[in-house]
């Protein structure tokens, strides 16, 4: 793997989403770590653009599902329909049968629909009327949600938040970026492009990134601290520690390293664990984030 490869890739993405290199890197990391991404933001911040760009970059099948309160699971997963011509039932796959799915405003849908999506995310398959249909690979879901205090939303329960590898927030672009966006909105560079196979290859290679004992101990200390220290609404689950290692590996990989450093863990830590630690806990006066507090109180170097 050549460093410039990823630089070019991130550069290409950066042309679509201006001024957010960190978020782009995290999104890419998430994809390489074979996890799903949750973006929490106000409307109009470029969530759709980001997922579009990712899909285009890797030539993935892409579909967007707009979640509303009346969206039914079958609308999303697909349904078995009676074909009058052949006189039998035919399964018509829903929009979920795509490689990259943008689940827009996921918290506007009813819990039933939400859990249907999250189940298929976890299982990588869909069961309808007793038949199991595998989902395509790679399978990557980008969920977006509005800030939870808006009315008319069903906040995702903790158990389901846990299924997203990362949660990021794009936020407002800065002055310069927005200015650039407004001045030459049309110019988008689509010359950089990769095959799906390339993505799968990278995903396999991420798994082989070396994580030494020191790094694993660091992760263990972090999760243990979240479990033993009072003041955290939710502790980090073993699934979270697994996700953390996976994400750190991917992060190390896109930084062209074959081993994980504590710095990699720190880089992905907030994105991976903040939504797991906080979950539905709302304390608007809390200034420091929980994951930041954890990072500050655990020494990455101790043996």
């Amino acid at each position: 793997m050549i460093r410039s490869d990823f630089d070019a890739l991130i550069g290409a993405l950066g042309k679509h989403i201006l001024g957010k290199p960190q978020q782009i890197k995290l999104a890419l990391t998430c994809m390489l770590a074979q996890g799903h991404l949750l973006i929490e933001d106000l409307p109009g911040m470029g969530k759709t653009t980001l997922s579009h760009a990712l899909a285009r970059l890797f030539n993935l099948d892409y579909s967007r599902i707009q979640f509303t309160s009346d969206l039914l699971p079958s609308d999303m997963l697909g349904a078995t329909i009676f074909n009058a011509q052949t006189q039998d039932f035919v399964f018509r796959p829903g929009p979920v049968f795509n490689q990259l799915i943008l689940a827009d405003e996921i918290n506007r849908a009813s819990p039933k629909t939400q859990s249907a999506l999250l189940e298929s995310m976890e299982e990588q398959q869909v069961s309808i009327d007793g038949t199991t249909y595998p989902l395509p690979t790679p399978f990557f879901v980008i969920g977006t949600q509005n800030p939870t205090f808006q009315s008319g939303t069903y906040p995702l329960p903790e158990s389901q938040l846990d299924r997203f590898l990362m949660k990021i927030s794009l936020g407002y672009p800065d002055w310069e970026a927005e200015k650039a966006m407004l001045s030459d909105a049309g110019i988008k560079d689509d010359t950089v492009s990769y095959s799906v196979e390339q993505l799968c290859d990278w995903q396999q290679r991420v798994k082989k990134v070396h994580a030494s004992d020191a790094v694993i101990n660091y992760i263990l200390r972090l999760v243990t601290m979240s479990r033993t220290t009072p003041g955290f609404p939710h502790a980090l689950s073993p699934r979270a520690s697994k996700a953390l290692l996976q994400a750190a590996r991917a992060w190390a990989f896109i930084h062209n390293r074959d081993h994980v450093l504590p710095d990699d863990i720190q880089a992905v830590f907030v994105a991976v664990s903040e939504h797991r630690l906080r979950a539905s806990y709302q304390d608007t006066d809390e200034d420091t984030s929980f994951s930041q507090r954890l990072l500050e109180s655990v020494d990455p170097l101790a043996a």
């Binding site: 106000l42 008319g152 407002y172 220290t229 200034d287 109180s297």
Partner: protein, 318 residues
């Protein structure tokens, strides 16, 4: 007067001896140890036992006296050892509005395999009372409350930690400076929306308009709301009268202004601060102008905090 001078000299000396850090590991340099009043009485007791022992020519009494002396000698070291196991790290102060009680969060941990024991008294420099924490009670994070009176950024004073463990004969203590700034936002003074028009947006004549296009949410009806926006549907169902609100994210024309040389500066600041909080709650973008400085229109918590910070430091720095 004398006390003040002594205080200042002491603080200067402490600043050299225990410089400010976010994290402190206690050592010989930072820990002070002296006998308590009980400790002094204990020595008097030892002297009394010695006199009794000598006058009655009683060896056991002498032995008891020496045993007590040895115990106090050993206790000096035990108490220091126990106290120096503490590792103290500042977690920061939560930001509050003037008049509220801020709380300074301190994390207590230990770098030794054996945790420190006993009760720990934590108080602000110069305060008589503080909070008592039992180190055996697995309280790792401590909240030390501090009353706030004025807006602004303040350096937190030193915090005194003291412990009497194990026998109360000696007091181990230290005064730590955590080099933490404490942000106190201005007091909030509620003010109606309509005030904004002429009070804070002088000149431009902008209004605090809400969006008209995208339906956002329902909120309770307040007197003066346009009748057209009342959610008749829900009212017909018997619910309390509500008003439909519409969001308009691109509406950048709300501008709050504060004149730093105004006669009623504090009142202005408080009211503006209230509006900042209120507008943020409604997710309505606004700009803030303080004298020559302008903060571009935006919304969100980060923007709110930035504006409040700017408001709270008016007049306190150049």
């Amino acid at each position: 007067m004398f006390g003040r001078l002594r205080n200042r000299l002491l603080l200067r000396w402490l600043a050299a001896r225990i410089p400010g850090h976010r994290r402190h590991t206690l050592n010989m340099q930072s820990v002070f140890i002296m006998p308590t009043r009980f400790g002094v009485y204990f020595f008097v007791l030892c002297a009394a036992l010695f006199i009794l022992g000598t006058n009655y020519q009683n060896n056991l009494l002498l032995l008891l006296c020496y045993f007590f002396l040895s115990v106090s000698l050993v206790t000096i070291f035990t108490s220091y050892q126990n106290f120096a196991r503490l590792q103290i790290q500042a977690r920061g102060v939560n930001t509050v509005y003037a008049g509220d009680e801020a709380s300074f969060q301190i994390q207590l941990s230990s770098h030794s395999h054996q945790p420190p024991a006993g009760q720990l008294t934590i108080r602000w420099w110069g305060h008589k009372t503080g909070i008592v924490v039992d180190l055996d009670d697995s309280t790792e994070e401590v909240h030390l409350p501090r009353a706030t009176f004025r807006r602004g950024v303040f350096a937190l004073p030193r915090v005194t930690f003291s412990s009497l463990y194990p026998l109360g004969l000696f007091r181990c203590w230290t005064h730590l400076d955590f080099a933490q700034p404490m942000m106190v936002f201005p007091r909030l003074e509620p003010v109606g929306d309509h005030h904004v028009n002429f009070q804070q947006s002088v000149g431009k004549g902008t209004t605090l308009t809400s969006g008209q296009e995208d339906f956002d949410s329902l909120r309770a009806y307040r007197q003066g709301d346009p009748i057209a926006r009342i959610a008749w549907k829900s009212l017909a169902k018997g619910a309390a009268p509500a008003v439909k609100t519409f969001s308009e994210p691109a509406n950048f024309n709300t501008r709050l202004q504060v004149n730093p040389v105004s006669q009623t500066l504090e009142k202005d600041i408080s009211q503006t601060a209230y509006l900042v909080v209120e507008l943020t709650r409604r997710q309505q973008p606004f700009a803030l102008q303080i004298g020559p400085h302008t903060y571009a229109a935006a919304t969100g918590r980060a923007h709110r905090d930035k504006c409040l910070r700017a408001l709270s430091t008016i007049g306190t720095q150049v």
